[in-house]
């Protein structure tokens, strides 16, 4: 067991972390919004944790709080991400479809350039020697695991609530949703903020795990990866992003023997999936299930 955790523990932590980031993208997706802003909030959350854990002005706070500084970092990251998402979301959610995606990519780029040039974020070098929460890296599953469970429960409950129905109505037909008494702007911003808060918390949790934090965290590449997780897994079920992240984040490890060619495999999976599985893996599985569980007479076959 010890050996297994040594070898695969970090991979497991990475899978859960990536799944959480995929789910942060899933929230705006629930309301039909193609937002790629998550990596920006992930980077922001990480910087907040890294700064709170290393700068001298926080030293007395760290001494006073002991290990409880870590939950405080998550809380601050969540708050700042949420407020920034509110400020950015209200104007940018006027954009639709691919334009919103482009707008959010620009947002991620702006943050990246800011982090690269600010003194407090350590410029190009970034912030290093971030204190660890656990001695072993695999132990981080103790924070990412429960967070994943909480987020899955949250989404599950959300889907059957008044707010979740408003999200779905906007995803299906924004104009009709408005005519049925739902304020589309309010709920689109809400979905965007929830996703941003989650990404911020995951970033804050990841900074100690990675030990260093710099502007290579949360880039356009990451936006594309998270989008691929959601699309390949399936964007209509909370299991989609989870499965997509597990599969695609594990793929490079499984294909290690292929060396550099493994990235080609990543691209290939994406292309094949978007052609043959337009509703993602979970979508295809649920169609298969309903096909076999419906009596053939009801399928309308003559």
């Amino acid at each position: 067991m010890e050996g297994f955790l040594q070898n695969y523990g970090f991979l497991l932590v990475t899978l859960v972390q990536q799944a959480l980031l995929a789910l942060s993208l899933y929230f705006p997706f629930m309301a039909g919004q193609l937002s790629l802003a998550s990596p920006g909030f992930y980077a922001l959350g990480g910087y907040i944790a890294a700064i709170m854990a290393t700068v001298d002005s926080c030293a007395s706070l760290r001494n006073a709080l002991g290990w409880t500084i870590f939950p405080l970092e998550w809380l601050v990251a969540a708050l700042v991400s949420g407020i920034l998402a509110l400020i950015v979301g209200i104007p940018s959610l006027r954009l639709r479809g691919i334009y919103l995606a482009l707008g959010t990519i620009a947002f991620v780029e702006i943050l990246r350039v800011l982090f690269l040039n600010l003194d407090i974020t350590g410029g190009a070098i970034g912030i290093f020697d971030i204190p660890q929460l656990f001695e072993e890296r695999w132990s981080y599953i103790l924070i990412f695991g429960p967070l994943l469970v909480v987020v899955l429960l949250f989404i599950h409950r959300l889907q059957h609530s008044r707010t979740g129905r408003a999200f779905k109505a906007i995803r299906e037909d924004e104009l009709a949703a408005g005519a049925m008494g739902i304020n589309p702007t309010y709920y689109k911003v809400q979905a965007f903020v929830i996703g941003a808060v989650l990404a911020g918390i995951v970033g804050a949790m990841s900074a100690p795990l990675l030990n260093t934090w710099n502007a290579r965290q949360g880039t356009f590449d990451a936006s594309v990866s998270y989008l691929a997780y959601v699309l390949i897994g399936g964007s209509r079920s909370l299991w989609g992003p989870l499965l997509g992240a597990a599969l695609l984040a594990a793929l490079p490890e499984l294909l290690r023997p292929l060396r550099d060619a493994r990235l080609i495999m990543n691209g290939l999976v994406l292309v094949v999936a978007s052609i043959y599985l337009p509703h993602g893996i979970v979508g295809a599985l649920s169609r298969l299930w309903s096909f076999f569980s419906t009596p053939s007479a009801a399928r309308g076959g003559e």
Binding site: R157, H160, S161, R162, T163, A166, A169, D173, A179, M180
Partner: protein
Amino acid sequence: MSMSHILQADRLSRNFGGLQAVDNVSFTVEEGEIFGLIGPNGAGKTTLFNLITGLTPVSSGTFSYRGKLLTGLAPHCVAGQGIGRTFQNIRLFKGLSALENVKIPQHSRTGSGLMSGVLGLPASRHEERVVEEKAWELLKLVGLSGRAVELAGNFSYGDQRRLEIGRALALDPKVLLLDEPAAGMNAAEKHTLTAFIREIREQFHLTVLLIEHHVPLVMGLCDRIAVLNFGKLIAIGAPAEVQQSQAVIDAYLGAE
């Protein structure tokens, strides 16, 4: 001005570039009336509905409901005032179940927020039960309770039309706007629909505005009719009067 006017359009206009889609239209609707809106294709009937429900901003003029100004309000605020509608080209939430379709418009009558819903607090659980119950009632009313979990997009055309009326009723409207509810229906279905519209007017104390092309249906069902042509109101009155109007005959058959 009599106090029984529930709706009042005052010189409503909307132009799209050079096209005057709705041109200086004024009329009033009495409470409990079934008010028909007819006219040749492109006369501006649907645009008028869109102006009333806030989907299209007016160029000028006002529309008020019980003396309260609706023009300038966002669509969800108009809906919140108790004005429900259906769409000419059916805009159900096609990827959602029939049940969810009739749950969604109950939004403005309920109030539980994000956390209350996710945590399942007592108030929101009570609210969910009420929403669920009302949703089933409405599905029964439109005769689709046996297919509640099916996706709305899989329904036949006629069933979608009925579900869309059910969805509009879920808003608990005082005014119901029906945009060509009988389009694509056969004679028997049209007959059933006429009875159904009368029935829901009684049951829900509705005022109904109705766009329809099928003249016998409009003549039989409506208390009063307004006729639009090229965005202008050319006649208004009881069905028999409108039928005799020279302007209407000219609009439909062409003037000599």
